[in-house]
């Protein structure tokens, strides 16, 4: 038999229900809209970040397949000349790039790329001149004007610049004059975005600007795929000592992998919000079904098929789901801008410097968001819809039969839930799960616990009644009684509430633990009194060289007991470029938090002075290296093995870094540069006064940024806070969805009781008692859900800290147990539950008993 459409009256049954329960429908709408909104905004942010990443690598690497590089000191430009004149017939282009900032360009870090305009054509598309002569005329300007730079028309427009505008570029703490010699006309929006954050100049200009006369950073090459091995061998034979030929891809691969993991992480966090939303929908729909059992029975008796009942319930939910999803899309676009800013901030802080702009037409994100919202609604509504369809015709189940049936399913469900939770927990603890399975197992624990919670409620309410009754009289017995007697209705509400609160706890515990870990860690690693680096350099990994004169003056500065130097630099390795941090602090072995080490800090440091290195936890995780392994680095003398003496905790970079003894670095790489210093001050010195004096005296030629220990900590902490801003933001939104969930669950529960409240009033409950009873009931559910959420929240936090962070950032965070997130969450649960009781209580108390009994 084929049935196509629902009878109009049946459609009305569904539609009217939504209309006559506007508050419930509205809350469900809000829940879905928020869930979808967050997911969409995060997706927009992720898509933007991924695109920006791809474009910026494309902009910098272009079509190059390989490059030649030679470590921190760079290549001699004669190498390029020699290769050019060797008759190899290979496209090759020299590059020297430099991070700069400019007050005329918003003071944001920009990449100044020095190129040879005549060698560029095959490599980077933005210089290709199909039909325009802009590039070629601009290229001419390179030679005519000293300090000439090119930038994109978009950037020029954004900052109100035009051809001929003067710029001040800050490079290595020095302000240098430059001029906009020409504008690059991007061919399409994609290349426009690729050019965002990029300045071009002739290579000689950049050599001059950065004080690296005659040096190149690398030579890009395009090697044909045919006969490639022979070509590589030929090239390698021509390279001078210390230069290596590397694949272009490897340079960005690791960063790409890491940012992908990070994006997966925030996607999953954003999905947590939607999971809470699913519980909210499930609760609302289940409720609407339970409430209408009688009507469905009657409809079935009248000849309505169970498929039609199914369609009514699912149809109602989907209607709200679709409208909610649409609103969510709008919200997502609105929130997208904020998310893009937060995500790009984090990526810049811990992964990679790049300019992220919102993708212009996030069609894909929107489609995904809409599907997600509808899928969530469908998943949440299908079980209650099926339940409704099962309603037996004519003889409807009596209420207490229904409750005893649901008590039986409750016991079964809680058993299944317990098994699921335990199995997932074991998987988390025992198996070394990857990011996505980790999240899967975490959701398993959450859902399992949600199934067990109502069972615990069933058991605990009678006990509570026994405690409360002697204290507050009959209401003390009535309220717990009511809660457990209507298990079919309170259970989903309870589960929804518990999940929501637990997620809230997990999130805030993660954020607070992260901060506490960082604070503790800084306590150990930042021991000196004064810190200095070139102004504008990265706070954790400064790579700009400090002028030797400044360092000399520092050594003999009155009041300074001991000065330490640090050299941060990228070096090539078979694993791609790695960050080195070489220092000469004899006590640095003590000033580390070890993740894994053999022997004491002093012993470790002794080994480092003898030629070993220590690597950060994120690097160890990423390269899968451990204690006792060797790490290979390319040195001017060729590849060299460094034994790993320890793995230390580090929260500054997900790429990770390698610490080694400065003297060893200098001996191996022949580079005398220093990029940061720190100093211990003689006891009794006024540190702030000395910092001010150093800042004034040492910065005469090169602008340095000198800070006291406390200032550096504060600055670092604000960077860390920024890193976690996106997680915090997601957590706040999830809390809000949770709050809406609680509100809607409690509201449905209490609104259904209007008739019962009428009877109670008729029997003689005072208005005050009606209020007390309602609030006692919602408060009890709130408090119990909140209490049960505490251990679950703890588990979620453990997973987020121990597993998810390790997989997405590379570092493990230790749980810093604080009572505040727990207390706060419990408060949120109870407050939301009480708040949700207010309106029904007010309505019940205001409505005359006669009316309440007549009409519900």
């Amino acid at each position: 038999m084929k049935r196509t459409a629902l009878a109009p009256s049946l459609i009305k049954v569904g539609w009217r229900y939504l209309l006559t329960h506007p508050l419930q429908s509205l809350l469900m709408l809000v829940g879905i809209a928020l869930g979808v909104g967050v997911a969409v905004s995060v997706d927009i942010a992720n898509a933007s970040a991924a695109q920006a990443f791809e474009l910026s690598t494309e902009a910098v690497a272009g079509k190059a397949t390989h490059y030649i590089s030679a470590g921190p000191l760079g290549l001699d430009e004669q190498t390029y000349v020699a290769l050019r004149t060797a008759g190899l017939e290979l496209p090759m282009a020299p590059v020297l790039s430099q991070l700069v900032t400019s007050p005329q360009l918003g003071d944001a870090p920009l990449q100044l790329m020095g190129i040879d305009p005549f060698a560029e054509q095959p490599f980077r598309s933005y210089l290709a001149n199909d039909d325009q002569d802009t590039p070629s005329s601009a290229l001419g300007a390179f030679y005519a004007i000293p300090g000439a730079v090119l930038l994109s028309t978009d950037m020029a427009e954004q900052y109100g610049l035009s051809e001929g505008s003067m710029l001040e570029l800050n490079i290595n703490g020095m302000a240098l004059p430059a001029m906009v010699a020409g504008l690059l006309q991007p061919r399409d929006t994609l290349s426009a975005q690729a050019l965002q954050g990029l300045l071009l100049a002739d290579i000689s200009t950049v050599q001059e600007f950065s004080g690296r006369l005659g040096r190149l950073e690398r030579i890009d090459l395009i090697l044909p795929s045919a006969n490639r091995d022979a070509i590589i061998a030929d090239l390698e034979s021509r390279l001078p000592q210390g230069a290596v030929l590397l694949q272009s891809e490897s340079r960005n691969q690791s960063v790409e992998q890491m940012t992908t993991a990070f994006r997966t992480n925030i996607t999953a966090l954003s999905l947590l919000g939607l999971v809470v939303g699913v519980f909210l929908i499930y609760n609302t729909v289940t409720f609407s079904v339970v409430q209408r059992r009688q009507s469905f029975g009657t409809l079935r008796a009248l000849g309505v098929s169970s498929r039609e009942i199914f369609a009514i319930v699912l149809g109602e939910a989907m209607l709200v789901g679709i409208v909610g999803s649409l609103i969510g899309l709008g919200l997502g676009i609105l929130m997208g801008r904020g998310s893009v800013a937060l995500v790009s901030q984090t990526i810049n802080d811990v992964f990679y410097t790049m300019t992220v702009r919102e993708v212009s037409l996030p069609t894909q994100s929107l489609v995904k968001g809409a599907l997600l919202g509808m899928l969530a609604t469908f998943v949440a509504a299908i079980i209650p819809a099926w339940e409704a369809a099962k309603s037996p015709p004519r003889r409807t189940l009596s209420r207490s039969q229904l409750e005893s049936v649901s008590r039986r399913t409750l016991a079964q469900a809680s058993l299944a839930g317990a098994l699921l939770a335990v199995a997932s927990a074991v998987a988390l603890a025992r198996l070394n799960l990857q990011l996505i399975p980790s999240f899967g197992a975490m959701f398993g624990v959450v859902i399992g616990a949600a199934l067990v919670a109502p069972f615990i409620m069933q058991v605990s309410m009678p006990l509570l009644a026994r405690v409360l009754a002697p204290l507050i009289g009959p209401l003390g017995r009535l309220a717990p009684r009511e809660v457990s007697a209507s298990a079919s209705r309170t259970s989903p509400a309870m589960a929804a509430l518990m999940v929501a609160v637990a997620v809230t706890i997990g999130g805030s515990l993660m954020v607070s633990s992260f901060r506490a870990s960082v604070v503790d860690w800084m306590e150990v690693i930042l021991r000196d009194d004064v810190y200095g680096s070139v102004a504008g350099a990265s706070i954790s990994e400064p790579q700009e060289a400090i002028a030797p004169e400044a360092l000399e003056r520092l050594q003999t500065w009155p009041g300074i007991e001991e000065a330490h130097y640090l050299r941060n630099v990228m070096v090539d390795s078979p694993y791609g470029p790695l960050m080195l941090a070489a220092n000469n602090n004899p006590d640095d072995g003590e000033e580390q938090v070890y993740f894994e080490a053999e022997g004491t800090g002093t012993e470790v440091w002794q080994a480092v002075q003898n030629g070993a290195v220590i690597i950060s936890e994120p690097l160890a995780n990423r390269l899968e290296l451990g204690l006792g392994d060797n790490i290979v680095l390319y040195t001017p003398d060729g590849p060299r093995d460094f034994p790993i003496a320890a793995i230390f905790s580090d929260y500054t970079s997900s790429r990770g870094n390698i610490t080694l003894w400065l003297d060893n670095y200098r001996a191996i790489w022949g580079d005398q540069s220093v990029t940061a210093f720190s100093a211990v001050v003689r006891a009794g010195t006024d540190v702030d006064a000395m910092v001010a004096e150093l800042q004034r005296e040492l910065s005469s030629e090169q602008l340095l940024h000198i800070r006291s220990n406390s200032t550096l900590r504060a600055e670092s902490l604000s960077v860390f806070d920024r890193t976690f801003l996106i997680s915090s933001a997601l957590h706040i939104i999830t809390t809000n969805v949770a709050f809406v969930g609680v509100l809607s669950a409690m509201l449905s529960l209490q609104l259904e009781k209007q008739r019962q409240m009428g009877i109670l009033k008729a029997i003689g409950l005072t208005v005050c008692q009606i209020w007390s009873l309602t609030l006692l009931e919602t408060g009890l559910i709130g408090a119990l859900s909140g209490l049960l959420a505490l251990p679950l929240g703890y588990v979620i936090a453990q997973v987020l800290l121990g597993l998810i962070n390790r997989r997405s950032f590379g570092w493990t965070l230790r749980m810093h147990f604080e009572t505040q997130p727990f207390a706060e969450a419990l408060l949120v649960a109870i407050a939301a539950a009480l708040l949700a009781g207010l309106y029904p209580a007010w309505r019940a108390s205001r409505r005359s008993a006669a009316n309440a009994m007549r009409f519900d």
Partner: protein, 232 residues
Amino acid sequence: MSALTALLRIHGLSKSYEEAGQRRPILRNVDLEIQPGEFIAVLGSSGSGKSTFLNLISGIDLADSGEIWLQGQNLVTMNEAERTLFRRNHIGFVFQFFNLLPTLTVLENVTLPAELRGTPLKQAQARATELLAQVGLAGREGSFPDRLSGGEQQRVAIARALSHDPLLVLADEPTGNLDEETGAHIMALLEQLTRQAGKNLIMATHNLENARLADRTLRMHEGKLVSEPARP
């Protein structure tokens, strides 16, 4: 206390409902006096206002004007809280549609009014058990209301109406949803229990058989309460 003093005195009681901007008077200037111990039946066709009348006397609905004096207090001038307390102490109600609390057991339903009045739990339960036995439901104390038949539910409702020892029992069509035989049985039970306890009973019904048990029969007609001549 003089036997001549009326237990309940109703004077000029009026009630109308507003629907779609239109006022529909239900009760117009109703007067009534009831002596202690009297059993009054109120007859009337469907929609004549019987339930409305009882609702007003119990204070679960509010009159537009008039006076309802009971125990020297005028219900009409009381506020909501006072009316509730008054009802809790003095009135027992048997509703037209049972109106038992579905989430409470039979015993709990019957115990509740006494408990609300402040009777210690043990005592209230003992009284409730006794009443349930009197209405023939001994052994069903732990059942939930929806497991009972209509007649059984109504017997629980009667027990509940008497559990807190009220002065006045109001019964709204107590047999309306029951078959004839069960109805007669319930009616007999209600009459017997109230008279035995010396309570007053006002019952709304459209069943002449039931009305015959009353001391006095009144009829609700076009918003007025008129005396029905005693039938042979």
